[in-house]
C-alpha cells in the first residue's frame, strides 16, 4: 500500500513539475527563433514555428506535450536537426552517469572516513585538519579545482590525460573534481552526526560490555551515525548522476550537463522541458530509493508507518 501511494505521489509530482516548467518557460518573452528574426524572412520562421507546433495556442501545445510525454516521447530538439530529446539524453547520459557514479563512490567513501576520523579525534589537530580540508572542498569552486587538477596531474606530472573522453583514465580527474564538494559536505555531516552518536548512552553500554574499541565504533557507532547522513543525500546523488555543466565543459566530456544550460540560452523548449523532467525523475526515484534504504537501516521506521 505504501509503495502504491508513493508511486502515485511521484507521478503527481512529475506532472506538477512539468506544468510549472511549461508555464514559466513560456512566460519568459521571446521564442526559439527570436534571435533568427533579422536574418530569416518571416515566412520561413513561421514555417519553422508551425513545424514545432509553436503556432498553436499554449493550452493545445501543453496537451500535445503531455500526450507525447505519456508515451515517454520528449519530442524533437529545435536546435538539433537530427536528434530528438530522447536521443540527446540517451547519448549524454552514459558519460555523465559514469562520472557521477564514480564521484559519488569517492565522495561517500572518503567523506565518511574523513568525518568519522575527525569525530574520533574531536577538537584535536586531526579533527581541525580534516575540517579545514572539508571547508576548502566546499568553498573552492569546481571551475578552479578542475584546472588545478589538470595543471598538476596532467600537464606537470603527466600522470593522466588532460581532457576529453576515451579510456577510463580520462574519467579520473573529472570524477575527483566532481567529488570534492560532495565529499566535503558528507564529511561534515558525518562528523557532526558521529559526534552526536558518541555521546549517546548506548555507546556507554557498549563500552561497559568490554567490546573492542573498533567493534564499538563500527557496530554501535557508524550504523547509527549514517542514518541522518543518508537522509540528505538525495539531491546530491541526483545532481551527480545527471551531469554538471562546468566539469563537462572543462574536460570536454560529451555528457548531459551542457544541455541543461545551452537549452535555456537557445530557448530550446523541448530540451528545457525534457532535461528538467529527466532530472526530476532521477531525483524523485533517488529520494524514493533512499527512503527505502533508510527504512532498512533504521528499524524504528516501518514501511507502513507513514500516512497509512
Amino acid at each position: 500500500m505504501y509503495i502504491v501511494k508513493r508511486l502515485l505521489t511521484m507521478l503527481l509530482t512529475i506532472w506538477v513539475i512539468t506544468t510549472l516548467t511549461f508555464v514559466v518557460m513560456h512566460a519568459i518573452p521571446g521564442d526559439p527563433f527570436a534571435s533568427d528574426s533579422d536574418v530569416l524572412p518571416e515566412e520561413v520562421l513561421n514555417n519553422m514555428r508551425a513545424k514545432f507546433n509553436l503556432d498553436q495556442p499554449l493550452p493545445v501545445q501543453y496537451v500535445l506535450y503531455l500526450k507525447n510525454l505519456a508515451s515517454f516521447d520528449l519530442g524533437p530538439s529545435i536546435e538539433s536537426e537530427t536528434r530528438d530529446v530522447n536521443t540527446l539524453i540517451a547519448e549524454g547520459l552514459p558519460a555523465s552517469a559514469l562520472l557521477g557514479f564514480q564521484a559519488l563512490v569517492i565522495a561517500i567513501v572518503f567523506g565518511m572516513a574523513l568525518g568519522i576520523i575527525a569525530s574520533l579525534f574531536h577538537n584535536r589537530t586531526i579533527d581541525y585538519g580534516a575540517m579545514a580540508v572539508a571547508i576548502l572542498g566546499i568553498s573552492i569552486p569546481s571551475f578552479i579545482l578542475a584546472p588545478l587538477l589538470i595543471k598538476f596531474f596532467a600537464v606537470k606530472w603527466g600522470m593522466l590525460p588532460v581532457a576529453s573522453w576515451g579510456t577510463w583514465q580520462h574519467t579520473i580527474l573529472p570524477s575527483v573534481a566532481l567529488a570534492a564538494g560532495p565529499l566535503a559536505i558528507i564529511a561534515r555531516f558525518t562528523r557532526s552526526s558521529m559526534l552526536e552518536v558518541l555521546k549517546q548512552n548506548y555507546m556507554k553500554t557498549a563500552d561497559a560490555k568490554g567490546l573492542g574499541t573498533a567493534g564499538i565504533i563500527v557496530k554501535h557507532g557508524i550504523r547509527n551515525a549514517v542514518i541522518p547522513v543518508i537522509s540528505f543525500m538525495g539531491p546530491l546523488v541526483a545532481h551527480l548522476l545527471t551531469g554538471t555543466f562546468v566539469i563537462e565543459k572543462i574536460f570536454a566530456i560529451p555528457g548531459l550537463g551542457k544541455y541543461f544550460v545551452d537549452s535555456i540560452f537557445n530557448r530550446d523548449y523541448p530540451v528545457i522541458l525534457g532535461t528538467t523532467i529527466f532530472f526530476s525523475v532521477v531525483l524523485i526515484v533517488t529520494l524514493f530509493l533512499i527512503d527505502l534504504s533508510y527504512r532498512l537501516i533504521d528499524p524504528r521506521i516501518k514501511l507502513t508507518s507513514r500516512g497509512d
Binding site: 549517546q200 548506548y202 553500554t205 561497559a208 560490555k209 568490554g210 547509527n224 542514518i227 524504528r300
Partner: protein, 339 residues
C-alpha cells in the same frame, strides 16, 4: 577471603574553563563477596563519577583520577592495561545504567545486544550465545524470549528495556554489578518490579552489587551496607541498620527526614535539607556540610572532620562524634535543632 572490591582515597577531577571540579575527593569503601552496598547522596555528590571510575567509563579527556586505588580481586584497576580492563568489563564487573530508554542501541536487535558480550568474553559461537541470551531473557522475566530476541528496543517498554539491560549486565556471570539508579527513570509500579527482580537475582546468583540510589526504602530492602556521600566525600558509612536507625551524621539525618518514612511509607512531615551543596571548584576547608548544618560549631568551618568510628564498622565524618563535642540534646535546648 579478602574483599571483592576495595576503593581507597579515590580522587577524580574534571577540568573546565572555570577551573577544576573536584567531583570525588578521597572516597574509600569496600564491597565483600555477595554483598549489596548502597551508595546514597544528593544529586551531584559524585556517585556516578565513582561508579564510572571503577568501570573506566570516565571521559578520556578533561577528566583525571588524581589519586587512589581501585582494587578488584587483588588487582589495581587503575594500573591495569587497557586490554586487561576490557576483558574484565562486562565479564567480571558490569553495569546497569539509569536510563533504559537510551541505553540500548536503537538499531540492533536486543538479542544481539545480549549475545555480543557473551561471544566476546565466553568465546561461544553465535548459536550457543543465542541459547544463553534466550536463557537470560527468561531469567530476567521477559515472556516469550524467542520472539523478543529479534525485536528492537523501541518495541519494548521502559521496564522491559531495563530487564534487557540487566540481562546484558548479567550475561557473563559478573562478580560485581554496579547499578547506577536503575529504577529512577521508571514508573513507580515498574520500579518495584525491577527491584524485586534484582533482589531475586542477587540472592540466586550471589552477585555483589554496588547500588546507587536516592531511595532509602530501597536501601532498607536490599542493602547490607551503606555509604552516604556528600560533596565528593563519604560522610557516613556502616551497616544499613546503623545508617537508617542510628544515623551519626547530620546530613544522613537530614536525608532521612526529607524522605517519606521508608518503613511505613506514610507521608509524614517531610523536611527537605535547606541550602545547596558547596561549589566543587573551591570546596571549603572544613566540613562541606557546615553551611547547611544545624549543629555547626566553630571547628566545623575550620577543619575537615576526621572519620570517627562510633560503633564497630560505623563511621561518621562529623565533629559531633568527637568526645569533646557538646551533645545533640544541648543544641535542642539552645533552640538550634531544626527538625
Amino acid at each position: 577471603m579478602g574483599n571483592l572490591l576495595e576503593v581507597e582515597k579515590l580522587k577524580v577531577s574534571f577540568r573546565s574553563h572555570g577551573g577544576e571540579v573536584q567531583a570525588v575527593r578521597g572516597v574509600s569503601f569496600h564491597i565483600e563477596h555477595g554483598e549489596v552496598l548502597a551508595v546514597v547522596g544528593e544529586s551531584g555528590c559524585g556517585k556516578s563519577v565513582t561508579a564510572q571510575a571503577i568501570m573506566k567509563l570516565l571521559p578520556k579527556r578533561g577528566c583525571s583520577i588524581k589519586e587512589g586505588s581501585i582494587v578488584f580481586e587483588g588487582n589495581d584497576l587503575l594500573k591495569l592495561s587497557a586490554n586487561k580492563m576490557k576483558r574484565l568489563k562486562g565479564s567480571q564487573i558490569s553495569m546497569v545504567f539509569q536510563d533504559p530508554m537510551t541505553s540500548l542501541n536503537p538499531t540492533m536487535k536486543i538479542g544481539h545486544q545480549i549475545a555480543e558480550g557473551i561471544i566476546k568474553h565466553k568465546g561461544l559461537d553465535k548459536r550457543k550465545a543465542k541459547g544463553r541470551a534466550l536463557e537470560l531473557l527468561k531469567m530476567v522475566g521477559i515472556p516469550n524470549p524467542e520472539a523478543r530476541y529479534d525485536q528492537y528496543p523501541h518495541e519494548l517498554s521502559g521496564g522491559m528495556r531495563q530487564r534487557v539491560l540487566i540481562a546484558v549486565a548479567l550475561a557473563c556471570d559478573p562478580k560485581l554489578l554496579i547499578a547506577d539508579e536503575p529504577t529512577t527513570a521508571l514508573d513507580v509500579t515498574i520500579q518495584a518490579q525491577i527491584l524485586d527482580l534484582m533482589k531475586d537475582l542477587q540472592q540466586k546468583l550471589g552477585t555483589s552489587i554496588m547500588l546507587i540510589t536516592h531511595d532509602l526504602g530501597v536501601v532498607a530492602e536490599m542493602a547490607q551496607k551503606v555509604i552516604v556521600m556528600y560533596a565528593g566525600i563519604v560522610v557516613e558509612s556502616g551497616t544499613a541498620e546503623d545508617i537508617l536507625e542510628h544515623p551519626k551524621h547530620p546530613y544522613t539525618l537530614g536525608l532521612l527526614n526529607s524522605l517519606p518514612n521508608y518503613e511505613t511509607a506514610e507521608k509524614e512531615r517531610l523536611i527537605p535539607i535547606e541550602g545547596t551543596p558547596p561549589d566543587l571548584y573551591a570546596p571549603p576547608a572544613g566540613c562541606p556540610f557546615a553551611a547547611r548544618c544545624n549543629y555547626a560549631m566553630e571547628i566545623c568551618v575550620q577543619e575537615m572532620p576526621e572519620s570517627f568510628e562510633t560503633e564497630n564498622g560505623h563511621h561518621s565524618r562529623c565533629w559531633l562524634n568527637d568526645p569533646r563535642a557538646p551533645k545533640v540534646a544541648e543544641f535542642a535546648a539552645a533552640g538550634r535543632d531544626g527538625t
